[in-house]
């Protein structure tokens, strides 16, 4: 694929008459095996040129500029005829478009670090082996008289970028993920793990974790709403942080649109909370370059509660005289407190396996809502007492980090995310569900 992508780059370089261009090509080979009620219900295989899993735009994307008038076009073909038509289309749009006062020229040449080849075990993973793994999980669920649903996915991806001003980058990655939910009457719980190297994935370990969660739950009993200490397991923390980090934007902060206005360099989060992106840990996936056409580099976003940096695109970074930055992987610093030790820190509280349906209530205050999911365990006097029904919570998420009581060891839940269990005091449960 690399040769085809570079050939396409050569063609664009040769025929594009615009003052500037940025060509991005994304290719993906995907295998999805979906199961429900202890049976496979979907089985999908194919390769495609596309820019993202939720979008329907073509993976060959060209943005051009004449002066500061820009135009973009995308297709999902790499043949010469399609590329010639793509260039014409983008150029035609730019020629008749209005000027963009925020246009910045494409990125120039950068020295990128050496690409690591995707793990062979992942690339060569066969459909038969994936179905074998699912079969093992379903047999385990049947032994527990439960119904299993979930998905096993394999992705092999490549990404190419070329600009008129001299940037050229090519990157590859591979991943395997397995997600499964077991349900038996009122008990339901889920586990999930994704790895870049299939050799580092153990289905037995994941089944064991599922069984531990499942066995710890019984028919949940109702429990009253109110503020309670919570122990959030890594799946729950990941779900929560995905939303929090999305709002960490410099321009929105400066415009007064998010909670971080005037807070850079200040102690805005709790002092036990640190967040970074890294290229220095060989086990944590990091792209060679970001969508901005800049090399990915170690970035500390929040250190002991102090905001060090926020995300900024190239236009805004230039305007403010700062470096552009985008979050490309997620590392939350962990601690060494075990779940057992956490339970002893307070009289009572709940352990959350997961969170669900998190949405903003108010962009300016940073208040969010969501629910718990996949099992809630009530503990008292250092011991788990019972499963309880799910809660709805409304929380100002950055404020909640000021109530962190303890951190567990960080766990690599995704190829690009390392997350600890986090214990937070007085989490704001505002409602209860019926199950």
């Amino acid at each position: 694929m690399k040769d085809k992508m570079m050939k396409c780059g050569e063609l664009v370089k040769r025929i594009c008459k615009a003052d500037d261009f940025t060509l991005q090509i994304g290719h993906s080979q995907d295998l999805h095996t979906r199961f429900a009620q202890n049976a496979i219900t979907q089985h999908i295989d194919g390769e495609s040129l596309r820019s993202g899993s939720w979008t329907v735009s073509g993976g060959v994307n060209l943005k051009v500029a004449f002066g500061n008038k820009t135009g973009s076009a995308s297709v999902n073909q790499l043949d010469e005829e399609s590329i010639i038509s793509l260039v014409k289309k983008a150029e035609n749009i730019a020629k008749i478009n209005k000027p963009d006062p925020e246009y910045v020229a494409s990125e120039g040449k950068h020295t990128l670090r050496e690409m690591e080849k995707p793990a062979v075990a992942t690339v060569n993973l066969s459909v038969e082996k994936i179905v074998d793994g699912i079969e093992k999980c379903i047999k385990n669920a049947e032994r527990k008289d439960g119904k299993l649903s979930g998905i096993s996915e394999k992705h092999v991806r490549s990404n190419y970028m070329l600009t008129k001003n001299g940037f050229e980058g090519y990157d590859e990655s591979a991943s395997y993920s397995h997600s499964m939910t077991i349900k038996k009457k009122g008990i339901e719980t889920k586990v999930y793990r994704a790895v870049s190297d299939y050799d580092r994935f153990s289905m037995n370990e994941l089944i064991e974790r599922l069984n531990e969660q499942f066995d710890s739950l019984n028919e949940p009993e109702p429990y009253e709403k109110g503020r309670l200490p919570v122990i959030m397991r890594p799946q729950a923390v990941l779900h929560w942080l995905n939303y929090l980090v999305w709002t960490l934007q410099q321009r929105e902060a400066d415009d007064g649109l998010n909670p971080y206005t005037g807070q850079i360099g200040k102690h805005f989060f709790g002092d036990k909370f640190s967040l970074k992106s890294t290229i220095s840990d060989p086990h944590i996936s990091a792209p060679l370059f970001t969508n901005n056409g800049l090399p990915a580099e170690d970035t500390e976003w929040i250190v002991n509660g102090v905001i060090k940096k926020m995300q900024a695109d190239r236009y805004y970074a230039k305007k403010k005289g700062i470096k552009p930055a985008s979050l490309f992987n997620l590392v939350i610093e962990g601690g060494d407190t075990s779940e057992q030790e956490m339970m002893k820190k307070v009289k009572r509280g709940v352990i959350l396996n997961n969170l669900w349906y998190i949405r903003p209530i108010d962009a300016k205050t940073g208040e969010w809502t969501g629910l718990t999911r996949d099992g809630v365990l009530y503990f008292e006097d250092g011991k788990i007492k019972k499963a309880v029904t799910n809660f709805r919570w409304n929380e100002v998420l950055h404020d909640a980090t000021k109530r962190i009581l303890a951190l567990g060891p960080a766990y690599q839940i995704l190829p690009h995310a390392t997350i600890p269990t986090i214990m937070i005091d007085d989490f704001n449960f505002v409602d209860v569900t019926t199950f």
Binding site: S48, D100, S149, G256, N390, F435
Partner: protein, 480 residues
């Protein structure tokens, strides 16, 4: 196209019990204007095909963007191999497909002005004029105007003998203004979702009037008060707001795949289980929900679904009672239903079709009742317009919604704007609290273009609708 026949012949010769091929081209244009900066002006084209093979009661699906004899044959073979692998872990004795006959047909979204023929400069000028109007207000600091046009051309063939040629069109504008005042920062939008129509839909909107209204209301909202503690109040919900509420609390719970537990690992399941059909009081007697994939302008109106089942109209809830689900050919037989309701849809050529919400609307009230009459008849309430925060549990029972604009109603009059209002409810309690619905003169629709569902995720489209509706005794309050 010859590849339709080639794929069907290849699947038959392999011994498929059923197979279909969907050649799907999506052409779209997006313009994104932030303040006066054109962040994106783009045309996209995605073209390929997906082949479904059903063997031993199990599915296989493969897709490709390569149009050659060899590639089509390989894709069919791969789908067949995957079906065999699925058959190792099949559903009981294997899935069955609901009865269906063959069709040879064509469908085109009716339109007057092809949006792809409207000059780009005309579209950009319209958007810039609107944003300029918004930015004339000193307190408006951010404006976002997004315009999307999309055409989906599908050729479908199945081993049943069906041959379909379907083209749908949609246009979707979205406008938002954010005010930053000394008190707060708040947004207000003009958003009615997508419409299966041409550019004439855009031309009939009075954009300057909409811009003035949302700018003024964003500022008003930033300077408004919230409500105090949550208490039981009356709610008046406008059609655009209700479209989201019904999508989450009626649309998703009545998708049969969710009811059967097929979405348990991600989107979740449903409290509206089969034993409730025909007897469960989902809403008050005024509540009638109609599924209608023949609705003009509806985003799920496409002639046929991706099972090759024709579009239909039926009751999901009648006189408050749960009557039926939205179904597909592979889910319907699991409830001993002979026929599918035609709700199987895929977003792109590389997506496997999944059970989707149909166009679904709350039937307007039968008595003459205008929004002004309804407000005049309401002593103490909160009126919510537009869509805001939304969150619902994975069984679709407990939910919390915000909104885009809020008004306090006292003694039959709108007395002041409010902000940061949220309400919480339990699904059947909520719909059973309906005591008045305005009549069909005030019916409005909202086209959803980003319904996230499935693993791998897909963005589905469907249209909802309602008239202003009154709900009693709902827990309503201000957020923090």
């Amino acid at each position: 196209m010859k590849y339709l026949e080639m794929a069907i012949d290849a699947a038959k010769s392999l011994g498929a019990e059923y197979a279909d091929i969907r050649i799907h081209k999506t052409t779209s244009e997006s313009i994104f204007l932030r303040n006066m900066s054109l962040k994106n002006t783009a045309q996209q084209e995605v073209f390929g095909y997906g082949v479904r093979v059903f063997k031993n009661g199990a599915w296989g699906f493969a897709h490709s963007n390569v149009f050659t004899d060899d590639a089509v044959t390989k894709t069919v073979n791969r789908a067949y191999e995957l079906a065999l692998q699925s058959g190792r872990l099949k559903y009981g004795d294997g899935l069955k497909l609901a009865t269906e006959r063959s069709y040879i047909d064509t469908y085109r979204t009716p339109f007057e002005i092809d949006p792809f023929q409207v000059p780009l400069s005309q579209k950009v000028e319209l958007m810039m004029d609107v944003n300029k109007t918004l930015l004339n207000y000193n307190d408006i600091k951010q404006t976002l105007f997004l315009m999307e046009c999309q055409k989906d051309e599908k050729l479908f063939a199945s081993t049943l003998g069906t041959r379909l040629d379907l083209t749908t069109l949609l246009v979707e504008p979205m406008l938002r203004a954010t005010a930053v005042t000394t008190k707060d920062s708040q947004s207000r939008s003009f958003r009615e979702g997508g419409k299966a129509a041409g550019w004439e839909y855009i031309e009939q909107i009075n954009w300057q009037e909409k811009a003035e209204k949302i700018a003024q209301e964003a500022i008003m909202k930033a300077n408004a008060d919230s409500l105090g503690e949550e208490e039981q109040r009356t709610l008046l919900l406008d059609p655009i707001h209700l479209s989201l509420t019904m999508h989450e609390s009626v649309g998703h719970p009545t998708e049969l795949d969710r009811v059967l537990g097929w979405e348990a690992d991600f989107a979740g399941i449903s409290f509206a289980t089969p034993e409730k059909l025909g007897n469960f009081q989902y809403g008050s007697k005024l509540v009638n929900f109609i599924a209608d994939n023949t609705l003009q302008g509806g985003l799920a109106t496409a002639g046929y679904d991706d099972d090759g089942v024709p579009n239909q109209k039926w009751y999901i809830i009648k006189d408050g009672i749960l009557k039926e689900y939205g179904t597909t050919r592979d889910t319907a037989p699991l409830l001993n239903l002979q026929m599918s309701r035609g709700c199987n849809r895929a977003t792109s050529y590389f997506d496997f079709p999944i059970n989707r919400i149909p166009n679904l609307y709350l039937q307007p009230g039968k008595q003459d009742l205008s929004p002004n009459d309804l407000i005049a008849d309401t002593e103490d309430a909160v009126l919510i317009e537009g869509q805001g925060s939304f969150s619902i549990d994975q069984h679709r029972v407990n939910f919390q919604f915000g909104g885009d604009m809020f008004w306090e109603i006292k003694n039959g009059k709108k007395i002041r704007p409010l902000k940061k209002i949220i309400y919480k409810s339990n699904n059947p309690e909520f719909w059973n609290s309906v005591d008045a619905i305005c009549d069909n003169r005030y019916f409005r629709t909202f086209g959803v273009t980003n319904c996230g569902k499935g693993q791998p995720g897909q963005r589905g489209r469907m249209t909802h609708g309602a008239a202003l509706t009154r709900f009693r005794n709902i827990r309503v309050g201000g957020s923090q």
